[in-house]
């Protein structure tokens, strides 16, 4: 069985089907990009994997174990980290304390948690801000803090939700470089991003969804040229 498998995921909110019959898998070390128009269900897929929402139906396997019945904190403990599209910094805590909060998952010692947090803030180029309160960070740094905090939990699979949204081109480049470094460290990644150029450059494969269903899945070039994808993004006239 693959490293990560999602089988026939369905999520309904009342009458609205946000995710419908979605299946995909990942191999270890891969980056899977997920694209789709606004409201197509990308964030919902992340919320299903990280168990912030229960599935309506379907199954999720991680390293051969079924995980869709476990509580959210267990998912993280098993090695699936996530960031939030709408960032959720621990506002009145310093950057280093934010990252330490993540590091405590694998240690009970304050000293070891701090040491690991120092390493990770440096890795994420946040070192110079480590004593700054998270609420005084601008958005680009808040996005990076989301990643740093999540890395501190030592994930094997990382879910990144729109890490580049709201960043200027230079900040985006920094974020992409960071994502590459994370991949080089051996972490498998599912990434949601709106900027096609970013997704084409960084993903090994891309899953395109619309109205919660798969419209294309494959190599970036194949997906970008897929008529359904062009239709979803540009409208019928261009297909």
């Amino acid at each position: 069985m693959s490293f990560f498998v999602a089988r026939k995921l369905v999520k309904r909110f009342g009458g609205l089907t946000a995710v419908s019959d979605l299946s995909f898998f990942l191999e270890k070390g891969e980056i899977l990009g997920v694209i789709g128009p606004n409201g197509s269900g990308k964030t919902t897929v992340f919320n299903l994997i990280s168990r912030f929402f229960p599935l309506t139906s379907g199954e999720i396997f991680f390293k051969g174990t079924r995980i869709d019945q476990l509580p959210a904190h267990k998912i993280c403990e098993l090695g699936i980290g996530r960031t939030f599209q709408v960032v959720k910094p621990l506002k009145r805590m310093s950057v280093i304390d934010n990252v330490m909060a993540g590091a405590f998952l694998r240690t009970n010692s304050i000293g070891r948690a701090r040491q690991k947090a120092e390493e990770i803030t440096d890795f994420c180029a946040l070192g110079q801000y480590k004593n700054v309160e998270a609420k005084s960070l601008p958005i680009a740094l808040r996005k990076r803090l989301e990643i740093a905090r999540s890395l501190a939990t030592e994930p094997e699979l990382l879910l990144l939700d729109e890490t580049c949204a709201g960043l200027n081109p230079r900040e985006s480049e920094g974020a992409i470089a960071l994502i590459r470094r994370i991949r080089d460290a051996g972490i498998t990644i599912i990434i949601v991003e709106h900027i096609m150029k970013v997704m084409m450059g960084i993903s090994d494969r891309i899953l395109a969804i619309n109205f919660g269903s798969q419209i294309a899945l494959g190599k970036p070039q194949e997906v970008a040229g897929h008529p359904e994808v062009i239709k979803a993004y540009l409208g019928d006239a261009h297909a």
Partner: protein, 323 residues
Amino acid sequence: MKNKSVLINIAVLLAALLVPVVIKAPYHLHIIILIIIWSIIGTAWNLLGGYAGQVSFGHAAFFGLGAYSAGLLKFHFDISPWWGVLLGPIIATLVSLPIGLICFRLRGPYFALAMLSLGEIFRLLFTNLSNFTNGARGVMIMPDITSKMFYYYISLFILVLTLFTTYRIVNSKVGYYLVSIREDQDAATSLGIPTTLYKNLALLPSAFFTGMAGAFYMNYVAFIDPNIVFNLSNVSVMVILVVMLGGVATTWGPTVGAAIYIFLGELFRATLGSANVLVFGVLVCLIILFLPNGIVGEMNTLKRLVRRKKGLPGGERNEFLRG
């Protein structure tokens, strides 16, 4: 830095040990003992409400259970009410357990509301179960010891125990987890923190020490009734004011808050006649309005401003109450 604060704490403790040597007037010692009792309740409340962000409007429940544990031991079984100082906290903790297990699963103000009603339920229960509790007539004991100095040292011991325990909890992994939960529960969950469990880990010691304060109160004051110890405004809400005044989520905040609250309250009662409650209320409002982080909290902010760290462009400004 760390050694310095240890030294300061030891100095404060030594000074506290000498208080009855310097202050001999029973009335003055009485006020100080009241301050200590409120410091204990405030410190206990602060662990849950301040650090973990789970605001309780019903700590009177634990206070009253502690007090009645001590009182009823004597009343029914003729056992020394001092055993209540052990039994009271245990009973308060046992009662807190199901409350936490039920309420902390739910999001939103359920816990605050459940605690509010818990305090009121116990007040009514203890008023009406008069066979067991002696109802509204209350419980009176004849204390063996009347020396204020004795009560001073006992209460000081309980306060030190409470401060030390909460300090150890706050400055550990548990403390980081509690504050993380307060700041953002979703973020905490995403970091693998079992939020329900940790909220309970804050609730249990909070109930425990509040119960201990209640049992001591029974021994000290020698008379309780349900309207005194289960009182919503004079216990449950008062402890919140005490902590807000001194500084939410600070080690010394509750103690400083209790000192100011009790001292000013007594001062106004002695000098202002019937207007004292009004003046006192207005003053508390003003302090909370102008020092939203409490006295200790504002001092910490000041210290940080002195060691000024540059703000970053694009970040939020400090969130003061005033524009």
